[in-house]
């Protein structure tokens, strides 16, 4: 049975006249990796801030871990782990000190604290760097340090806001491995990203946000199936035109029917960016 670990009903957040989140209805199921995809400014971070009790919604109902965020925020705080987009560690302390701080905030006693810190450091392969100041670490290590800090109280759901921004390819893949491992070990993951390949690589289901609204929600493959699994790009009047086809045969016969003067024909698998383009008429990053 699917259990909603996150549930929102008509969630709306206004900043003055701007609707950062507009009537969001969302269910995230226990045990899944759910991805929130969309360009910068689409409302992803605001949604995370509301779900993690940092921002008060203007309107609507939200429950996380079965608790109403307005009625029982302290209970919500016990079941969530949050890794923010920007580094939120005390950079004048070591990794171990930062971890100890988080463990204390969650009232984890001395011996349990020590055990979990050592275990988690091992888990993310940071043991040998545990006593280094956060400021002296690489970007990937800082991110992993931030993640272990958010895991000390064994949250049911882990929020990752743009977890791989600014990381090189190697560090990014290492982080993906970690996210998958955490999910296998039972943690529900809610992540936001504006990297298409990240959403495709990690997420069981993806919601696409645009101007504060959820414009598509499904498994990446099913979203692609809806528009067509094959994309054909052609250059028309110096603008790229995207057309979608159910399979390669259909795409091929379309390309053969094009006038020979048609420039730059690319036939490729469709992706979530195509879904976004098809739904909005914009490319990710345009907004």
């Amino acid at each position: 049975m699917l259990i909603d670990i996150i549930y929102t009903e008509n969630l709306t957040k206004n900043y003055g006249a701007v609707k950062a989140i507009n009537n969001l209805n969302l269910q995230v199921y226990s045990g899944e990796i759910f991805g929130f995809l969309g360009p910068n400014g689409a409302g992803k971070t605001t949604t995370i801030r509301v779900l993690t009790t940092l921002t008060r919604p203007t309107f609507g109902f939200v429950s996380v871990g079965g608790y109403d965020i307005k009625q029982e925020p302290e209970k919500v705080k016990k079941v969530i782990g949050v890794v923010q987009q920007h580094l939120s560690l005390d950079r004048d302390l070591t990794i171990r000190e930062n971890m100890e701080f988080h463990a204390r905030l969650h009232r984890i006693g001395f011996s349990e604290r020590k055990r979990r810190i050592d275990e988690l450091l091992e888990y993310v392969e940071l043991t040998e760097f545990a006593d280094r100041m956060v400021d002296t670490l690489s970007g990937g290590m800082k991110k992993r340090a931030a993640i272990v800090c958010s895991l000390l109280h064994e949250p049911k759901v882990l929020f990752l806001d743009e977890p791989t921004v600014g990381l090189d390819a190697q560090a990014r893949r290492r982080l993906w491995d970690l996210v998958r491992r955490l999910n296998n070990d039972g943690t529900t993951i809610f992540l936001t990203t504006h990297y298409i390949e990240e959403a495709e690589a990690l997420c069981g289901r993806v919601g696409i946000m645009h101007h504060g609204q959820l414009i598509a929600l499904d498994a990446p493959m099913d979203l692609r199936k809806k528009i067509g699994l094959i994309t054909v790009e052609t250059l028309v009047d110096n603008k790229t035109r995207y057309q979608f086809f159910a399979d390669r045969a259909a795409a091929n016969s379309f390309v053969q029917s094009l006038p020979p003067s048609t420039k730059t024909v690319i036939i490729r698998d469709s992706n979530l960016e195509d879904v976004f383009v098809e739904q909005t008429g914009e490319k990710v990053g345009d907004a």
Binding site: L54, T55, I80, V82, D92, R107, C149
Partner: protein, 248 residues
């Protein structure tokens, strides 16, 4: 019991931080009051009498009060601002199960500690220069209360003001004039009534009145102590309210 543990957890990280930087922290918070003590007290004040007492004796409790004030205020406010804007770690506190009142008290305590260290250091030098001061339990209590009130003031201001620029403007327009005017360097009896009325709505005035009365063994202004406690309570409530407004 949980609340005490939480308050200590919030303070713990600031203590760790201070342990790493304590030399520069203490030195910077002592330099200005030390200069006041030398220039106004030892240099200028040895020959002057004010309200029937030697000026040096008069001014030392005032300088202790202003040291408690500026160090507690800045100690609490600057660390909170760093957490908010530089480390961005303040959100971590808000997302933890620690209650908002515990966060406010915990963040104030680092200011209290720094205020007590600095004002005690100044007091020791002051006592060496003018040994006639009486430092009893009442003085100690007032000093502690003052540091707490000023640290809570710092927490409130740091929570409400959302930029470094705003913070330094506030420091220059409110904090700096207060250190000079609130009965620290001169007796309020010398001021016109309008000025007195204004100065009595500022917490430092009450702190310096109380500290001076205690140190010079004059009749103690209990009403000022009550006023000081009232300021503390309103800064505390204001801070909790500011946090509540921002998060859930």
């Amino acid at each position: 019991m949980d609340a005490v543990y939480d308050v200590y957890s919030v303070l713990w990280v600031d203590l760790r931080n201070m342990r790493r930087h304590w030399r520069s922290t203490v030195a910077t918070s002592l330099i200005l009051p030390f200069l006041y003590l030398i220039a106004f007290g030892y240099g200028l004040g040895r020959g002057i009498n004010l309200d029937g007492v030697n000026y040096l004796t008069f001014v030392v409790p005032g300088i202790v009060a202003l040291t408690a004030f500026s160090t507690s205020f800045n100690g609490a406010a600057s660390k909170l601002q760093i957490d908010k804007f530089f480390y961005k770690s303040f959100d971590e506190l808000l997302m933890s199960p620690v209650s908002l009142p515990s966060i406010v008290i915990g963040k104030a305590l680092i200011g209290v500690l720094r205020g007590l260290i600095s004002s005690t250091a100044i007091l020791i030098v002051g006592l060496y220069l003018t040994p006639t001061l009486t430092i009893g339990p009442l003085f100690v209590v007032v000093l502690f209360v003052s540091c707490f009130v000023f640290a809570l003031f710092g927490v409130l201001v740091a929570l409400v003001i959302n930029s470094h620029q705003g913070m330094s403007t506030f420091s220059n327009l409110v904090i700096l004039p207060m250190t000079f005017l609130c009965g620290t360097f001169f007796a309020l009896s010398q001021m016109p009534d309008v000025a007195k009325a204004v100065l009595y709505v500022l917490p430092l005035t009450h702190s310096s009145q109380c500290l001076r009365a205690a140190a010079l063994a004059q009749p103690f202004p209990w009403l000022s102590l009550v006023a000081l406690l009232g300021f503390g309570a309103s800064f505390f409530v204001g801070s909790v309210f500011a946090l509540k407004k921002a998060s859930i």
